[in-house]
């Protein structure tokens, strides 16, 4: 009787997984910038992440995955079947998907697409282009101007204006 009760307590973890009928149907999203936690433990259906190697989507039971993000659009689909997703522009950062469908998206800066001012993006791009032309080749100033241009161009693409 003793050994039976002990055996019942000590099921290996892999077996309990197989017996469980509770597969997560949502992913738990933690989306943070340094000064604010935009989503903490929110249950969403899908997140589309702008990875440097390409966009990819995270759905429940995705394999654990780590990706660097390029400046681009992060799309959050709150429920399955919704036509519209919530879109944020992220300026780089990392996205990590862990086991049990917890996804952390951390970036230094993120802004809702609706909050982006097209004229500001245009003028920032022009300023960056001037700085890029004025900087000497191979210097830090040129690299920073290049990054500035790329991010603003990506922001332009996100809100539908073409900058070059």
């Amino acid at each position: 009787m003793f050994s039976r009760s002990i055996a019942q307590k000590v099921l290996p973890r892999s077996l309990t997984r197989a017996f469980s009928s509770e597969a997560p149907s949502t992913i738990t999203l933690n989306f943070s910038v340094p000064y604010e936690s935009i989503y903490n433990g929110a249950s969403v259906f899908q997140v589309i992440i702008p990875g440097v190697e390409g966009e990819y989507g995270v759905t429940p039971n995705h394999v654990p995955y780590v990706a660097q993000m390029k400046p681009g659009v992060l799309q959050i689909l709150h429920e399955e079947g919704l036509s519209d997703s919530e879109k944020y522009f992220v300026a780089g950062g990392y996205a990590l998907t862990h086991e049990d469908s917890v996804t952390d998206v951390v970036c230094p800066e993120a802004v809702k697409l609706d909050d982006i001012d097209p004229s500001a993006v245009q003028s920032q791009f022009e300023a960056a282009k001037k700085a890029f032309a004025a900087a000497d080749s191979g210097t830090i100033e040129q690299a920073e101007a290049q990054i500035d241009m790329d991010v603003n161009r990506a922001m332009g693409v996100a809100i539908g204006i073409n900058l070059s």
């Binding site: 933690n30 340094p34 990875g51 440097v52 390409g54 780590v66 660097q68 990590l96 862990h98 951390v106």
Partner: protein, 282 residues
């Protein structure tokens, strides 16, 4: 026994000091509110990094056995004083880590953030200090943390087997604890240990591991800095409150002394007048 005049001056200067400490306490209380909010945002921002390396541990009763051969210790202290025991606890923790690590035959170097820590560690462990970062102005931002992380890499942080951040962790307005984090560089590997065998990566390039490590270091520094700033403000608030209370007690006892001295003087004058007058009456 001081004269009446001296006691009077002492009372006045103590009153001035108590005004300063009271106002410093209120300023710290206000700044603490801001620091607590920033810390509340920094904790979820950094939560992933603790999953990737390991959770911060308490310094108290720690043996530091898990530290590898070459460690870079980064203690976070403040530049300004009048903040209670925050800096002494950190330097004491750093000294104990160095002692433990050396007794196990390993080496450790130190990069100090904050002038107070530099002053305290310079006396005994000057040879270990590789770099100091002062005027790291609070409130910190992520840009500041990234700059600190870049500085660490500029002095060769990737040559060390681990980076240990020692900082004060804010528990509540009255309590803070010394904690340390061990951050080891990643290796894309099939080996076990500090690397990340269970994760797939979008890119196999070694630079991407280095980039992730840099970002994680910046994030951890950001969190430790926010935590340390909140602890420092709460400690300063407590220290100034105690100082104001002590000043008030001192003023009370000095006032009693002053009154006694004043009454003694009046009595002496009265006796002189009366004995003078009675001498005339004779």
């Amino acid at each position: 026994m001081a004269t009446e005049k001296q006691i009077f001056n002492q009372i006045n200067s103590t009153k001035n000091i108590s005004k300063i400490t009271a106002s410093m306490k209120m300023v710290s209380a206000a700044k603490l509110k801001g620091d607590e909010t920033r810390l509340a945002a920094a904790i979820p921002f950094n939560a992933w990094a603790n999953k990737m390396s390991s959770e911060p541990k308490e310094v108290e009763d720690a043996t530091f056995d898990e530290l590898p051969e070459k460690t870079l210790i980064v203690p976070f202290t403040s530049d300004k004083g009048l903040c209670g025991g925050v800096n002494s606890f950190i330097t004491r923790a750093t000294k104990s880590i160095i002692a433990q690590v050396e007794s196990q035959g390993k080496t450790a170097d130190v990069v100090i953030v904050g002038d107070k820590g530099r002053a305290q560690l310079n006396r005994t462990h000057a040879s270990k200090i590789v770099r100091t970062a002062t005027e790291v102005v609070s409130p910190g931002t992520f840009a500041l943390a990234s700059a600190l992380a870049s500085e660490l890499f500029a002095i060769g942080a990737e040559d060390y087997d681990a980076i240990v951040i020692v900082y004060n962790s804010y528990v509540n307005a009255a309590v803070y604890k010394q904690m340390y984090k061990v951050i080891t560089p990643f290796a894309i590997a099939t080996e076990d240990g500090g690397s990340l065998p269970s994760y797939d990566f979008d890119s196999d390039k070694p630079e991407s591991m280095g980039d992730l490590f840099e970002f994680m270091l910046a994030s951890q520094i950001f969190h430790s800095f926010m935590d340390g700033a909140a602890s420092e403000q709460s400690s300063r608030m407590t220290a100034m409150e105690n100082a104001s209370k002590n000043a008030a007690e001192m003023i009370d006892s000095l006032t009693l002394q002053y009154n006694r001295a004043r009454q003694a003087r009046i009595t002496t004058e009265l006796i002189e007048i009366i004995s003078g007058a009675s001498a005339l009456d004779e």
